[in-house]
Amino acid sequence: MAYLELDRVAKQFGAQTVVDDFSLAVGKGEFVSFLGPSGCGKTTTLQMIAGFLDPSRGAIRLEGRDLTAVHPARRGLGIVFQSYALFPHMTAAENVAFGLEMRRVPRAERAERVRAALAMVGLAGYEERYPRRMSGGQQQRVALARALVIRPSVLLLDEPLSNLDAKLREGMQIELRQIQRTLGTTTILVTHDQNEAMSLSDRIVVMSQGRIEQIGTPQETYEQPASAFVSQFLGKTNDFAATIDRTNASARLVAGSWSAPAPAGFSGPVTISIRPERIGFGDAGLAAKIVTRIFQGNHWLFQCESECGPAIVIRQNDGQTQPAEGDAVRLAWRVDDMSLRAGGAA
């Protein structure tokens, strides 16, 4: 049974529909990310779960109870905001204790839980610090401790790592995942960073223009994107216009000088979508010329001009000699690695 359930939720501001027909079932202990570009409605959806906004249509249920009827202060959700929204006039310990105070937790237990929460996020000894005297990463941890100390039924994270620098962000991602695993708190993360969504989540909800594009595990959304939007938003991808050629006895899928037996169920113009790391240089295949070659340490990035338009290829730096800029090459890939969509290239 679903723990947190969103049933055809929609939100309108005037004539503008910001979120439409959003249905999702989150299991207990699951880590789900809402991923999409800014303005796709992911934060609006989070705010509806939190209760800062009321849905225009649809229902939100927690363990079968209607959540929209519950006042935001009574929902018992833990929220970490993008700006952290710490109380600047309170110390770290007072910030964390605030939620417990509102719940009338006895003083002794409160002190113990605050201490444990700050220790869990690695801030033991910082109890008396004011937020202004802490670094961004430390403030982030206080915000996380403040949200977790109330033992929330669901933890909502609104772009919590976007204000940290790249290195710190990576460290926090790992830590966040460990804490979430240990506590088993059902968590929803809103992010526009596909790497963050992929490394943290059990499942990703890819959103665009207020609608769900795809719901799936990180691997599913990356390997089998349900739409052109998903394949472009999650990592780099190549789209090649192709046709199904039925002149011979066996129909063939043709893109420039590359061809393969046509899969069933397609006809006319189609689009081949293939990840850059799945393309190899071979003797036969799509004719292309390497425009630029960029060395990136563990891999090479090639930008090519092919018969079917620009293409990018990523090759592992495995010590082999790689083609140079200006070389004519043939691009080849396995049929299993590509995905096929009806219609012309986007």
């Binding site: 939190a50 202060a73 929220i79 993008q82 700006s83 109380f87 600047p88 509102m102 005297r133 949200a147």
Partner: protein, 302 residues
Amino acid sequence: MSAAADTAAANAAATADAPTARAPWALAAPALMLFIGVLVIPLAMTVMLSFHDWGQYKGIEPVFILKNWHEIATDPYYAEMFWRTFRIAALTTLITAVLGAPEAYILNRMSGRWKSFFLLVILGPLLISVVARTLGWALLFGGNNGLVNKLLMSLGLIGSPLRFMFTETGMVVALAHVMMPFMVLSVWAALQRLDPQIENAALSLGASPPTIIRRIVMPQIMPGVLSGAIIVFSLSASAFATPAIIGGRRLKVAATLAYDEFLNTLNWPLGAAVATLLLVALVLIVVGSNALIERRYAEVFR
């Protein structure tokens, strides 16, 4: 060898620095001259004037005596007048704080178009002369048949007409109106620094709206209220137009008294002493409370 070269380089740098070190002074000089010319020198002259002698027939005598200061210190009239001045200023400050802080908070929560409209309504009075605004109050107060009295009586709040003209009540009401924009603006500035999500954060942790105001919003806008209070207090204590029109000759405050000594009695030294005392008292109060505020909120608002 290399040490010698370093020293030479350091010397060269020092000589190059010398003109640069003078540059800030040169750049600040025009403003500094203006400051000294129109503020420091007249102030010093006023302080000196307060130690001069004055007589009905002999006029001002440039001698050094403590006669004026002695008169202010011993005559209870001056003590009463200064108490009245600061009592009115304190009451005005209290009223503007109690009304102005919620006003700024409500204003800040309004949506775009209404926000700018009401901000204009609040700031509008600053565009009108204080004299015109105060004369407006004088018309509203105007004796027993004034509009304010009629309104209060028809609402059943009072049985018989209140006296507003030439009373402290009237002065405080008019001053509070004149000073309100300063308080609202000051609190408004503090509210702008508030994290827009901070109330939602408190809400999600289970705080009720009154608790959010008391525990989260109030402590954060307190520095704004206090700096607004300092502005309103010092402006009210040294206000001239409003007390002159509402209080008239009957109910004097420090500023109107100094004016009368200068222009009616022509006892410039005594007027200078009153003005100097008002200035010193205000500076002490403002600097003192500022130091208190800074110490109280140092840790939070750095």
